[in-house]
Symmetry: C2
Subunit: 134 residues, 2 copies
DNA sequence: TATCAATTAGTATTAGTTACTATTACTAAT
DNA sequence: ATTAGTAATAGTAACTAATACTAATTGATA
């Protein structure tokens, strides 16, 4: 019998715990280092694999923020982020922000906003056709 | 005497031309291949360097779109993009889109929208302090 | 408790990008 | 025109984040 179940291993559990208890949106490498304090023998591959699995399970979300490293967010509810162009730090933003952006891109959240980018995801007309029967 | 001027070399000019005349938002590799039709000996490094320089000069903008490849856009005016989650293709969106997104994420542009992400850029409070005197 | 896919640590590989190196081309001031 | 100094180039090496591979181990289920 094929089991498509995921196991909750100690490694996976601790990776998730670390992500849930921080608001720092760490990179895979940062997760690796914080988890290693509790599991000194964990490997980078395990961290990457579990981050991917937890993302699929929607326990975690990935932030692709314009830099080359992915960042991971233990808060899986839909929300927006703001990134510091100097240090790369990422903070959460309240959900009503889109409206504020529309008029003037000025938000009183301590940041000095210099820009923003928006990317939608979806299927283009061609792919919709191709995948139509799926 | 230090000259901080950029030269408009044939390589740079043709790279820019190729970007201006397409709406396909090509990757560095795609730029390389289309430019090579006119300059068969151009090297990948030259393409990357010039894309970077043209971006600094704001002739071109970079699209970091959630994949690992950067894409380049010869249209340097502020606008938004939509990316196909299947084929990676990126199209332009009209600027009034942010408002539309706010209510319901349904846009009649042929795409089937499955999600979107928004990232603001700016200086966080800490960095503002650090760089205050600059 | 026997089974067997899922998971693991460790390592090798990949892919995109950037850095380096020796050479050539351009620019501005003699 | 010649020189001096910088920018740019082709080609290649190096880097880095992420993924793939491998043999051994784990742990949920029958």
């Amino acid at each position: 019998m094929i089991m498509n179940n995921f196991r909750m291993t100690p490694q996976r559990r601790i990776i998730l715990e670390e992500l849930k208890k921080t608001r720092k949106h760490p990179t895979a490498d940062e997760v690796y280092h914080s988890v290693r304090k509790k599991l000194p023998d964990i490997s980078m591959g395990t961290v990457y694999r579990n981050l991917e699995i937890l993302t699929k399970q929607e326990e975690v979300q990935v932030i692709r923020n314009g830099g080359k490293k992915k960042r991971y967010d233990g808060n899986s509810t839909k929300h927006f982020h703001i990134k510091c162009t100097n240090c790369g730090r990422i903070d959460d933003l309240p959900e009503n922000l889109v409206g504020l952006i529309k008029k003037n891109i000025t938000v009183d959240c301590g940041y000095e906003i210099t820009g923003y980018s928006l990317v939608l995801y979806g299927l283009c007309p061609d792919c919709k056709k191709k995948l139509g029967g799926k």
